[in-house]
Subunit: 329 residues, 4 copies
Amino acid sequence: MTVRFGVLGAGRIGKVHAKAVASNPQAKLVAVADAFEKAANDLAGAYGCEVRSIDQIEKASDIDAVVICTPTDTHADLIERFVLAGKAVFCEKPIDLDAARVEKCLGVVEKAGGTLMVGFNRRFDPHFAAVRKAIDDGAIGKVEQVVITSRDPGPPPAEYITRSGGIFRDMTIHDFDMARFLLGEEPVAVTATASVLVDKKIGELGDFDSVSVILVTASGRQCVISNSRRATYGYDQRIEVHGSDGMVSAENQRAVSIEVAGALGYTRPPLHDFFMTRYTEAYAAEIAAFIASVTKGTKISPDGKDGLMALRLADAALKSAKEGKTVRL
Amino acid sequence: MTVRFGVLGAGRIGKVHAKAVASNPQAKLVAVADAFEKAANDLAGAYGCEVRSIDQIEKASDIDAVVICTPTDTHADLIERFVLAGKAVFCEKPIDLDAARVEKCLGVVEKAGGTLMVGFNRRFDPHFAAVRKAIDDGAIGKVEQVVITSRDPGPPPAEYITRSGGIFRDMTIHDFDMARFLLGEEPVAVTATASVLVDKKIGELGDFDSVSVILVTASGRQCVISNSRRATYGYDQRIEVHGSDGMVSAENQRAVSIEVAGALGYTRPPLHDFFMTRYTEAYAAEIAAFIASVTKGTKISPDGKDGLMALRLADAALKSAKEGKTVRL
Amino acid sequence: MTVRFGVLGAGRIGKVHAKAVASNPQAKLVAVADAFEKAANDLAGAYGCEVRSIDQIEKASDIDAVVICTPTDTHADLIERFVLAGKAVFCEKPIDLDAARVEKCLGVVEKAGGTLMVGFNRRFDPHFAAVRKAIDDGAIGKVEQVVITSRDPGPPPAEYITRSGGIFRDMTIHDFDMARFLLGEEPVAVTATASVLVDKKIGELGDFDSVSVILVTASGRQCVISNSRRATYGYDQRIEVHGSDGMVSAENQRAVSIEVAGALGYTRPPLHDFFMTRYTEAYAAEIAAFIASVTKGTKISPDGKDGLMALRLADAALKSAKEGKTVRL
Amino acid sequence: MTVRFGVLGAGRIGKVHAKAVASNPQAKLVAVADAFEKAANDLAGAYGCEVRSIDQIEKASDIDAVVICTPTDTHADLIERFVLAGKAVFCEKPIDLDAARVEKCLGVVEKAGGTLMVGFNRRFDPHFAAVRKAIDDGAIGKVEQVVITSRDPGPPPAEYITRSGGIFRDMTIHDFDMARFLLGEEPVAVTATASVLVDKKIGELGDFDSVSVILVTASGRQCVISNSRRATYGYDQRIEVHGSDGMVSAENQRAVSIEVAGALGYTRPPLHDFFMTRYTEAYAAEIAAFIASVTKGTKISPDGKDGLMALRLADAALKSAKEGKTVRL
């Protein structure tokens, strides 16, 4: 069975998902929509599909599923509309920056019996997925401590910061999802510290650029997260999980694995320079998993609740950083 | 401009190239041909193209280029036919197992002013290509010594051995091409030693499974090649190049970069298990380079002469191994 | 000039320091003292020195310096006695488990104009020292975030736990010293979380075995520390420091750097199994630095104040873990 | 039991061995001898031993064993003298540059029932020794192919070249010994190629600076050796052994294991800069093994025959390189 897709939003992340859909042998990219006509036309041209309005896609009988890549503040409304229209929905994170709005949205989805997957792409990275598999296979015994390193190559532009909901809801939220994915228990306490070290302007906008977070579960399992908005050596994405019998870790990735040795030492190239090159395989696997859920009814993961839980951790972390105390959930 | 392709041969390597063609935005896979109807139908079905006979493809006005993936003993004839038919030709290595036949074929290609590229895929591996680029950029000074390690995960079936022309013409030939690609000078002497260590049956068929080769150029640059038909830990493909100012090397590749640490030590997964997974990116880049040559006239590399030179090195290595002396070219 | 040493305490750590003294060409091991006669005799025999009582060493005119390796609760008294006796003093950490007692002791040392070095051996590990040097050389720009991983191969015996002052004062204290050594600013806030995951008995003794700590300096620099009393794969000791221009890190160490590759993957041996093998070079360099301070008057580092500051961080971390809030210093 | 040593020769390698002897708890350095009075005095001063003449050491009743570190052309004579004088002899490689002279010397040793160990230090490197142990433990099955990389940081001075016997007898001879140590069978054929790529003066002296060698045993096991007199990135010493079940390899060593990451990539420091720093542990273990042979009668390895066999391989390699053909032994 082939799943027929509409992609809503033809911006940066829309292109990523359109490519993943177009390359999947069990998917057909039928239409894209975007408020900017040129963006929609360009994307449609690249993959030989139609340009339609969001309304047209909502009513289309030749579209089974949509990928929502529009601005964040439209996500919850579009999820509700398309679930009610009977489409399977894949929505880029976050559902909304406000947890109450997310809860309402999830209520609509549940009542409608809708299909909703949320775009935490890292669960589908083959290396991180292999870390999870090693845990599930018992390779390290019982999970005890998780250490997540996540550093962006460089800070986003000011206007992005303004709309992002802040570093915890925009960047650390991915790490909160990975923490939940790997800890095997729900975090019950969050302690965070946040600084402005990279760029003063980020501070002037009320946000932070360098944060450290500790999560603790009911049984005392711990997760430490280290984030920065800048890493001169590339997109630093590492995970290690310590258990009663050992450790499993995922290394950083680079496009080219060569090493040049000379009088100054041994040098390997910088890491991938951005999330789109680093997570190419993850985006493809993510859409494949969504398609499998639509066609074979496999369990949706991450689902709307996963989106909500990660957001609650982000809210708690922000509160902890501001008040200087542990926040319990 | 889009290049319209016919693929001749729908076997293992035919599938690899058909996928590379189908995935390339500047190529269109028009037809496949194969003596086995089912193989042709299956491949055509997977990519939504036609099944045609070789004759039909030869005469087709809607096909610009062919990829020859048929049995080795048909390569030279097909190259000649399709070059004379005005098609650009990409031919899997080798052109022929007999150097005289290759020379005659290249004469026909040259006289016809035809386009012929030979499938030494490793030149297009991003890691090996980066090694070459580092050399070209002057990162290691003047090249002095090249060390190539190439070990297959396991020996091929006996019937393959019989048709292969022997390990030097089948397996080491890739390393001979890489040696020429990296040495910056033509080898003028070959010294080889060959043993049967992996499987006695290979010896009974008159072939070897473990070989070591030294190449030397006119100025004394050296290349050492180490081959085995078996590597329990996966497809071992490494290169290091030493120059007057330093060394550049390409590491092995694995599908998943995780490490599990426990009481017995730190363990990373085996390498890729075969050439098709190891060289996925190389096959795509190879077809892209061929397309660029067809559409933009960029220099063909590797061309027919490269195929001939590698074959001559293979012939010389076999002679050296049998006679126990250095063979000069 | 040769410095003539007495070693007080011939137990595990006493042996380590006696060896470092005996191997140093600028030191002479004159005498050892221990309440257990056999321990003192054995150690004296191994290095061809005398057995004396602590009183005798205090009064000896042929001893310039002492290394205090006796039980923790005797450290402060012995420091005071030997400083007043005019000996240079190297004391194993900690000076005392009680910060007020440490302060009093340091007052005595200061008034006497005595020489006191405290045994935070990790500052002298060649790898960690090279990390600090890279920072000092400007290799990573301005320090922003430090990540310290420190895991023991296995938990100590219960009786050790009881006397240790708890994990923060016994184990994390080394990491607090490294944090101060690398951050370039004094921490002003400590947030810690502590669990019992490895061994329930540790919890029954009122201690923890798994802790995560965040330190923050006045300008917002952060340090994350991850500790466990168990690592099946050996003594896990890593440091990474992130700065405005890059990162510098020190890898783990193992006794033998081989790798075995087979059908199950690539395996390297476990890490060093204990601090004495891991930090062999550090102990030698530490004594050499102490000797240099005695003979050439080079600045003592780490000194008594460093010992006090690390203890205060440990006390603050314990308070934070118990009260669930950030503790400011 | 303590073995009492005399060291003959107080030059570079004499100092290395004197230190190994002085640091060994079961050895006592009694005396050193050197034609240059100052060299002997300096070395004796550093370790608090006497200066004696070679004659005096030969007749000394308080000396059990000697370490011969004099110029190569004196080795065979001194071995004979000291064996006949009843001393256990450790001789730096080579015994002599002439195989016939070595044979005569070994005849004298055998007739006298003397103890003779030859200084192939690499067998005692903990990493290479662990490679051998992994083979002996069956970790890789039956040995099939050995790959040895050995590159000096820089070429020796011309006067050293002149006395060295040439690169095969001076440098590659260590690799020939390692090959024999690891192959598990005696090589029966040698094929070598030799170039002058690093320094023309080396060629003018009749020597080479870059060589590649293939050894083959009776059953067809192969060893490839790659040598250069120059490696800008340090002392490159690697071994890998391939067997029927897998591979074992020993990595390069560096003094400090840190990595600096920045915009240009990830850089680790160069390797050790010379054999004395690279093989510090090996020299200590070598003398310890010699002492064990003297005191406990453990089998001498490498013995005089090992020295002779390596020299024969060197002679064969030189002949092969000059004549362009495989030389059988």
